[in-house]
């Protein structure tokens, strides 16, 4: 007990200048020994790829290291005893530099601690090359584990409340388009009936929403993919669509930019050609 309280006193002597301290070198073995005998689940830690030096040892480390946790460090304050703090260590740790070679760190969730907003900015900015999104990219539409349903949000122009559709329930763009029609037909009519709030609405009966995929209808179905790009639904093969879609939107066709409208026309034309061959 006395020994440790004396050690505590030594610990208290934090100095802000290069030390003339006289601590022993073997304590470094203690630290590294602690590292290797810690209770942690080493395998899970190592698999993260972020603990590359977990097995560093020093020459001449005392074998008492395994008593580790209870000792928690009679650690010296400035154990770079006989050398300046600023110069690279040679005397103390006796760790050859080669042991510092680390395995390439794998991606760890949440490190570095940057808000997803910031990360997404980097991905969608055009002034820097966006790196491909890592597989564990946070996708809030999919919730915390399920895999049973694949729900994505869908919003429609002129309808304030969005819905969700389960993409697993459909196997083709036609089915999806029909589902969207069913989903919003009634809502749209309701919006149109209740005029108010300075938004232009036509007075119309409940009518079928058609032409979502080929630009021929009043509305067009688009989506946002996992790289933040806006795409026309139908552009890519169905399975690719399902694996990259983040959210859906039903836009007024007239609101599509001229470029997008052209895209739609071209893709329709392309499909027709394919059918012909």
């Amino acid at each position: 007990m006395d020994e440790s309280s004396r050690n505590d006193d030594m610990k208290l002597e934090l100095r802000l200048a290069p030390p003339g301290a006289e601590q022993q070198q073997q304590h470094w073995g203690l630290i590294n020994g602690i590292r290797t005998t810690t209770k942690r689940d080493e395998s899970s830690v190592l698999s993260l790829g972020y603990f590359p030096h977990a097995t560093i040892t020093t020459k001449g480390s005392p074998s008492s290291t395994t008593t580790s946790s209870s000792q928690a460090a009679a650690l010296p304050l400035h154990n770079n005893a006989d050398k300046k703090v600023f110069s690279p260590s040679s005397a103390n740790t006796a760790v050859p530099n080669t042991s510092q070679k680390r395995t390439a760190p794998g991606p760890v969730v949440g490190w570095p601690p940057i808000r997803s907003f910031r990360k997404n900015l980097a991905n969608s900015s055009s002034s820097s090359k966006p790196p491909p999104p890592p597989p564990e990219h946070h996708n809030k539409d999919y919730g915390g584990g399920g895999g049973k349903g694949m729900f994505v949000k869908i919003n429609m122009d002129g309808v304030p409340i969005g819905r969700k559709v389960d993409l697993n329930a459909y196997d083709s763009y036609e089915n999806l388009s029909n589902a969207v029609d069913q989903l919003f037909r009634g809502l749209l009519a309701a919006q149109r009936d209740s005029s108010g709030g300075g938004v232009n609405k036509l007075q119309e009966e409940e009518k079928v929403i058609t032409g979502l995929l080929d630009g021929s209808g009043e509305y067009t179905l688009v989506y946002e993919d996992n790289e933040g790009d806006r795409m026309l639904v139908g552009d890519v093969p169905w399975h690719m669509f399902v694996s990259t879609v983040k959210r859906l939107r039903v836009l007024k066709s007239s609101e599509l930019s001229a470029f997008t409208q052209l895209l739609v026309l071209f893709s329709v034309g392309g499909k027709q050609e394919k059918d012909a061959t």
């Binding site: 972020y50 740790t93 808000r115 900015l121 820097s128 304030p160 969005g162």
Partner: protein, 571 residues
């Protein structure tokens, strides 16, 4: 004080603004409690689940301004699964029912539906100010409701929210009669807006002091807008991309020259470095500069810019500025108080900032008190030097990109460096650690960090002792968040009473078991102990000996919450 009539005491209390002081007043005696509660207009709730809205309204009938925070801080880093909670709707509903004269609502990390925004816009005729930070779920439709219905709106401030964008019609929803805007920030919106509508809105808002645009506003529109608002104090540029029509660019520069009041500049979500020169006229007066969204600006351009910013007090920047650039900052920005250096995505380039940059800053900027520093490496020597040069740190957050990297010069943990920081900075309130760290650093923290209120720990420590040093030593600790550390049941259960003195504790990927959490929950009925059970089916009770992947506990007077998703077990 018993001799004074209530009106006098009320009048005196008017001068007491801060939440802490107000809280202190209310504890003095019954009559002060009564007077204080009747006169309190601003309330801050750090955890929306710590109390029910009804109870709040009952206690503070004069409530005008409410600040609410929802999800735990680590939600920012994708550690909290979707659907955890933090819904604002019940609060707005309760405030509406209670006929509260709400004027200001500030939310952070909450789930804000369009419905809530619509209700908010209709239920409070005096509503003036809405600030949403890191919130989600709402769309521009909700914003449209706010614009259309809040006749007295002064402030609409959206910071880093996830917003579904249904395009720019929401701006058109500000009626022509709306001329009261003082602050408008929609930088985080991803979609297009109608720049003509925006221009007219700015033109009829003579009190507009703060305007932050999103990336869809191009250079020519920017010029026209700023020309209509020479009284601006805070500008957020959306896009500053090279315009082939050079005269537009020259026009912008002339316009900027006329802005004598701008002291805060931000944005640059898309920027061509050359175009930054348009900003040069206002640089000498800037006190706040945020270039941290501007990826792709070379360090050399940043340096050229910084040389003109002699009055800077707050700087947020990307690490592409480099150690050398931080040296220029140190030489130029003598008034600097807050610095944040964010990592750019350019992995593979030479290490952008290291301990050298930080040391340079500490030498040149003695007023520095807030730091967030992402870097590739740090040394004990550097931290010791920084501690000596800057004893005034209030916030010190260091994030080494390789989370467990030791001091590269000595191969030692960074215990000594952080120890020096806590010993020297007696006013330190917030600390985030990284790098290789043993239990020693926690011993230092427990011993010296007397004012510490928030501590963030990742991949550090060796045993329960580490966590115990902190819990025992830091008397003012309010928030403790820990991930991937070897702290277990002993640490968790040794001093259960401590948690009622704190707002919350987060532990993920540690050594704590379900059984221990159950014990804790049983002993402390006024804590909600939540365990996140993401991988098991919801009806499967985990074993007591099973390790807990994520635990979040917080003190509460509201009891177990009813809106928790399936994967959350409140014990």
């Amino acid at each position: 004080m018993n001799y004074f009539p209530d009106e006098v005491i009320e009048h005196i209390f008017e001068y007491v603004g801060s939440h802490r002081d107000r809280n202190a007043l209310s504890l003095v005696c019954r009559s002060w409690y009564r007077i204080e509660r009747c006169t309190r207009e601003k309330v801050f709730i750090g955890n929306c689940y710590s109390i029910t809205p009804e109870r709040l309204i009952q206690r503070f009938p004069s409530l005008k301004s409410l600040t609410l925070k929802g999800k735990p801080h680590f939600a920012d880093f994708s550690l909290v699964p979707h659907g955890w909670g933090g819904f604002v709707y019940p609060w707005i509903e309760a405030l509406a029912k209670g006929k509260v004269g709400l004027e200001e609502l500030r939310l952070k990390r909450m789930v804000v539906s369009d419905e809530s925004l619509e209700l908010l816009s209709r239920a409070f005729p005096n509503f003036k100010s809405l600030v949403l930070v890191s919130c989600e779920e709402f769309t521009t439709d909700g914003l449209a409701a706010i614009a259309a219905n809040c006749k007295r709106l002064r402030e609409l401030d959206l910071q880093e929210n996830e917003v579904d964008d249904h395009k720019g019609q929401w701006l058109s929803c500000f009626p022509d009669s709306c001329t009261s805007l003082v602050s408008l920030n929609f930088a985080c919106l991803k979609g297009e807006i109608n720049t003509g509508v925006l221009e007219r809105l700015v033109a009829r808002s003579p009190n507009l002091k703060s305007l932050r645009l999103n990336r869809s506003v191009p250079l020519d529109a920017l010029q026209r807008i700023v020309a209509r608002a020479p009284q601006l104090v805070d500008l957020g540029v959306g896009s500053l991309v090279h315009d082939p029509a050079m005269e537009t660019f020259a026009k912008l520069m002339t316009t900027m020259n006329k802005c004598k009041s701008i002291t805060s500049l931000s944005g640059f979500l898309e920027v061509t470095p050359r175009c930054l020169t348009a900003m040069y006229p206002i640089l000498p007066k800037l006190t706040s500069l945020n270039l941290s969204y501007a990826a792709g600006i070379p360090g050399s351009d940043l340096i050229k810019l910084i040389r003109h910013c002699k009055k800077l007090q707050r700087l947020w920047i990307m690490d592409s500025i480099g150690d050398k650039g931080l040296g220029v900052v140190a030489n130029t920005c003598k008034e600097l108080q807050e610095l944040r250096v964010f990592p750019s995505d350019n992995i593979g380039q030479h290490a952008a900032v290291t301990e050298k940059g930080l040391v340079a800053i500490s030498m040149g900027c003695p007023k520095l008190h807030s730091l967030l520093y992402f870097c590739h490496q740090m040394t004990n020597a550097a931290l010791i030097t920084v501690a000596k040069n800057c004893p005034n740190f209030i916030r010190f957050r260091l994030a080494i990109l390789d989370a467990t990297k030791p001091d590269p010069d000595t191969n030692q943990p960074l215990d000594e460096g952080f120890g020096a920081i806590v010993q020297s900075c007696r006013r330190l309130r917030r600390l985030s650690l990284s790098g290789q760290l043993t239990d020693k650093v926690f011993l230092y923290i427990g011993m010296y960090a007397e004012q510490l209120e928030m501590l963030s720990i990742a991949f550090a420590g060796e045993s329960d002792k580490g966590m115990l040093y902190v819990l025992n030593g830091c008397k003012k600790l309010r928030k403790l968040e820990i991930r991937d550390c070897p702290f277990g049941n002993t640490a968790l259960l040794t001093d259960v009473g401590k948690y009622e003195t704190m707002r919350s504790l987060w532990m993920s990927s540690c050594e704590v078991t379900v059984g221990a959490c159950k014990v804790l929950a049983m002993k402390m009925p006024r804590l909600n102990v939540e365990i996140f059970n993401e991988n098991e089916p919801a009806d499967c009770e985990p074993d007591d000996v099973q390790k807990v992947e994520k635990m979040y506990l917080y003190r509460t007077l509201a009891g177990k919450r009813k809106d928790a998703p399936e994967y959350v077990w409140t014990l």
